[in-house]
Structure formats: C-alpha cells, structure tokens
C-alpha cells in the first residue's frame, strides 16, 4: 500500500452525475478488482480520504480507472479534474473479489446496482483473462434519467441483462427481479450496489444455495484498518477484532453474503 500523487490521464462524463477518470499511479502495479483507493481532496477543510473502487486496471500502463457519482464535495472536485491534474491517493486497499477459487467451468453472475456496476467491470475483464466463460451481468439503473452507463462495456465480457427502476430498459424492477425474470443460472454471485439490493441478493443466494460475494460500503476514516470506523456485524467472531465486527476496509470490502449481518 502506498500514498502518493496520481495524475489524471483521461476524464469523461458517462451519464448525468457519473464520471470516469483514468489515473497514472503506482497503485496499478498491485491493484486487484474489488479493491479500492482513498482519494484526498485539495481542500484543507475536507480532510478524510474518499473511498472509491478501482473500476479497471491497466497494470502495464500503470493506470487505474475510477468511476463515480457526484454526491458531495470530494466527488465534485474529482469530476472537475482535467488531464494533468493530480490527486493524492492511498491504496490499493481491501481484499478484492476472490477470483482464485474460480475454474473455467464456473457460472459467474455479476450483479451491479447503479454506481455499484463499475467495480464489477474490472472483475469481468479479469474473468475473461482467467478463462472463465460463462459470465452473466445484471446491471440495475434508475432508468431514463440516469443512463445505462458502462452497460456497453460489460457486453465485451458477459451476457448483459438490464433492470431499471422506471422500466425504460430491460426488466422493470430490481436486479433480483431481472435474475428471476430471465431465470439466470449461476454458481457464484459477485455483487456491488446499495444496501437494500445487497440484502435482497443475500436472500436470493441463500434461497438458491449459491455463494454470493458482496462489496460493502461504510463511512471510513483511515481505510487501512487502524480507526475501526468502518465495521460490519458478522455472524462469527472476526479473527482480527475478536468481536462480531469486521473492518470493511481491511477484511472487506468484499464479504461472503452469509457471513455478514446486513
């Protein structure tokens, strides 16, 4: 893990309030899909790093991609970044998605809701390289107002299904509705998105008896496991904390759904 300046190489608007930037950073060397970085703002009044998932990685070029929604000060600053600007980054952080257990035969289902989709893109990319062939991706969006950002990119790596809140594209409903509607089969689910969606996926996975790995979010201060700010309640006593709380930034952000109380 390192902390240092990363230089903006490309910056684009993907949809209303959704931006993508590629950054030059040494973090790319060791980064894995599902990990994240903490991005510092340039303001002395906003001192906590902003956790943003690594959406894609170009190891050789030494670049990572961040895709994010503008919600407040830090993400707005990042959205205004111009090529050549630099941001202080710490990372890579967290465990990432457990891809080692996969074999070429594994049926993988990626489920991403809104700004939860981007982190799965890097994973989809990597699955391809690993030789995993049966990859479905169910992407949930608000609908007309938000755009189907990155959906096209996923098509390179997966059978893509869409769910929208307003029914303007694909299934009218949630990503879980889309799985049922299309009767999508899977051995393993990787998911990222808002908490209600992750809860629903946890239920779906339990019901279908398949394992699901979900990426969680929580307010973070350090990102390295030092402050104990970002915990999630766990079924078993956590090996590090010795209580039923795991640090999302360190033991996560990706957890097996049945292990966490959400």
């Amino acid at each position: 893990m390192i902390q240092g300046l990363a230089v903006v190489k490309k910056s684009e608007r993907l949809a209303d309030g959704i931006y993508s930037i590629w950054l030059d950073t040494e973090i790319a060397k060791t980064a894995m899909p599902g990990q994240f970085v903490m991005v510092n703002t340039h303001s002395d009044a906003h001192l906590l790093g902003r956790p943003i998932s690594i959406s894609d990685i170009r190891k050789e070029a030494g670049q990572i991609r961040l895709v994010f929604r503008v919600v407040g000060y830090g993400s707005r600053e990042l959205s205004e970044a111009k090529v050549g600007d630099s941001f202080e980054l710490m990372g890579p952080m967290g465990n990432g998605f457990p891809v080692d257990k996969l074999s070429p035969e594994t049926k993988v289902l990626l489920m991403g809701g809104g700004i939860g989709a981007p982190p799965l893109l890097g994973l989809a990319n990597k699955l391809k390289k690993y030789g995993v062939e049966q990859v479905s991706a169910v992407l949930g969006y608000r609908g007309e107002t938000g755009g189907l950002f990155l959906a096209e990119d996923f098509k390179k790596f997966a059978n893509v299904y869409i769910a929208t809140d307003d029914g303007s594209s694909g299934t009218h409903g949630t990503v879980v509705d889309a799985v049922r509607e299309n009767d999508i089969q899977a051995d393993i689910i990787f998911a990222c998105g808002p908490m209600p969606m992750l809860s629903a996926i946890k239920k779906l996975a339990a019901e279908k008896g398949i394992s699901a790995y979900i990426s969680l979010e929580e307010r973070m201060a350090c990102g390295v496991g030092a402050c104990l700010g970002c915990v999630v309640k766990t079924k078993k006593v956590d090996g590090h904390s010795h209580v039923n709380n795991s640090r999302i930034c360190t033991e996560g952000p990706v957890f097996e759904a049945e292990e966490v109380e959400i």
């Binding site: 893990m1 002395d44 001192l47 790093g49 307010r219 201060a221 350090c222 104990l228």
Partner: protein
C-alpha cells in the same frame, strides 16, 4: 542537535508519537511508515475483555476535522498482548499502551496484566470513555472521580502512568491538578470535544451514537490553550495533542508547554504526517539555531 526528550525517566528519540486510536497498533500503517523513527507508538485503547464498540456510522467529516464514535472497540488485553505487543517488540521505539474500562476494576485489571510486559514503556489511562460508572459522569469530567481512578491505577501500575484528560470541562487546571495530586506521572490532552452532526435530509443524527468526538485541525486552538493551561498548572510533564498536522503545529504545542506531542486524525489524511513532523522540527531547529529541543518547550509564556 538534540531532539530527545525524557518523560518520567523514559527516553524518546524525538517528541512525536501518534494519538491513541488513530494509528491502530502501528501494524496497520507499518507498510507505509517506518515505526522505528517515531518517538513512541501509542496503541488503540485496550480493555480487560473484548469490546464491540458502537453501531455504525462511527465516523464523519466536519470542517477541518472529523467526528468519531468508535466506542472503543478492542480485542481485549489477552489478544493485545499476544499479537500487538509481540509485533511491536520488533521495533526500536517506546510503546505506550492506552487503557480503557467501564469501571475502576476494569482499568486496574489491564494495568496489572501489563505490569510485567517489558515492551510497555508507559501506560496512558483514557478517562474520557463514554458509558463508565459514576452515574454516567465520565471519570474525565469530575476531579474527584479522576483522583480516585488515578490512585487506583497508580497503586498497581509498574510503568509510569499518563492520565489522558478530557477537554469537555470548565477548568482544565483543576483536572490537571487532580491528576497530579493523585500521583499521575504525566498527563496528556486533549481527547476529543463532544459534538453532534445532523443529516437534515434524512432528519437523523449522522453518527448512530448521536454524539461523537470532534478532532482535527479545527480544534487545535482549543487544544493549544488547554495544553498551555495544564502545563502551567502542574509540574508533571504534559503530552500535547489536538489537530496537529504539520511540524509548525507540533512546535506550537511544545512552545505552549508540552514535552511531547501526538498526531491524531491527520494520520488518516497523510500517512507520513508524523515523519513530516519529525523532519520539520529538525529543519526548524536548524534554521532557527536551536541546539536542544528542550529550549523550545514552554518557551512562550
């Protein structure tokens, strides 16, 4: 040039350490920070048994600062000794163990357990815990309760005892004097200021615990004032903290009367914060022709 300071017979290669709870046990940052360069490592608060802490959200940003309501989650003293203390044995720096508890007995249990641990240089007693005995009044805000716990801890402690004071009081000198009178070997301050933040769109408190402790540069001017008041009220050494970000800030606390300083939430912002302070202090001494860091301690009156 001498940057070494001594507190209660313990020598520090420089006066810079982390503030408890902002640096884990050092392990967490050891990939990025050379722990050997620090004056000391102050560990996250540890109790006699594991604590779960508060529900989340536990942290939030505020203007030039942050709030936390971790609730002192910790794995308990047994795991701490086996794992964290063992890890720290690999490093050439002082270890100060921050101790928390719900009752005097809890504190004393931890203090006794650490008595024979050679790697522990000092004990820092956090008396600003939420949810302690005494009808909800923290030991840290009542001079009598503070004296009582200080005496109880001192009676059993084998290492020098630092009492860590709360800033949420009318009179810091009264609290500092109470700690000194009861036998404390040193005091440290400030802990966080009790604060609150409301999410007006959700009509809810931002932190699940409703209130949380405010720290960071925002509170630095309050901390400097309290360190100044405390160090002029007692003869025992003072460790100063509260919003230190740069070497200038660290020097400000030293000039106000602190013998050593701790960097807290700023470690989260920049992992090199303590190293930057250490190097910056050396640079300042060189530039202004100061031979011994003791020359600047308490030099502004």
């Amino acid at each position: 040039m001498n940057t070494q300071v001594e507190i209660c017979g313990v020598k520090f290669k420089n006066p810079v350490m982390d503030a408890s709870g902002t640096f884990g046990s050092g392990i967490e940052y050891s990939e990025m920070v050379d722990l050997n360069r620090l004056g000391a490592i102050v560990t996250k608060g540890v109790a006699n048994v594991p604590w779960e802490g508060n529900p989340t959200p536990r942290v939030t940003e505020t203007p030039s600062g942050m709030m936390n309501a971790i609730g002192l989650q910790n794995p308990g003293i047994d795991v701490f000794v086996e794992r964290d203390l063992k890890f720290l044995e690999n490093y050439d720096t002082n270890v100060i163990v921050n101790v928390c508890g719900r009752s005097i007995e809890d504190y004393v249990e931890v203090v006794e357990r650490l008595g024979d641990e050679k790697k522990v240089s000092m004990l820092e007693i956090n008396v600003s815990c939420p949810n302690v005995k005494h009808g909800g009044i923290a030991f840290g805000t009542d001079p009598h309760a503070l004296e009582e716990i200080t005496k109880a801890v001192k009676a059993k402690a084998k290492q020098p005892v630092i009492m860590k004071l709360s800033p949420n009081v009318t009179s810091i000198p009264d609290m500092a004097k109470a700690a000194e009178a009861a036998g404390a070997d040193a005091i440290s301050l400030i802990n966080t200021l009790t604060a609150m933040k409301i999410d007006i769109y959700r009509k809810k408190f931002v932190l699940a615990n409703k209130t949380g402790g405010l720290s960071g540069p925002a509170i630095r001017p309050v901390a400097v004032r309290m360190v100044y008041e405390a160090s002029h009220a007692v003869k025992i050494p003072v460790i100063g903290m509260g919003g230190i970000a740069t070497a200038e800030d660290a020097i400000e606390f030293l000039m106000a009367g602190a013998t050593a300083v701790a960097v807290g939430m700023y470690n989260f912002h920049r992992s090199s914060a303590m190293i930057d302070c250490i190097e910056g202090i050396e640079k300042f001494m060189k530039q202004t022709g100061i031979q011994d860091i003791k020359e600047i301690i308490g030099c502004v009156v």
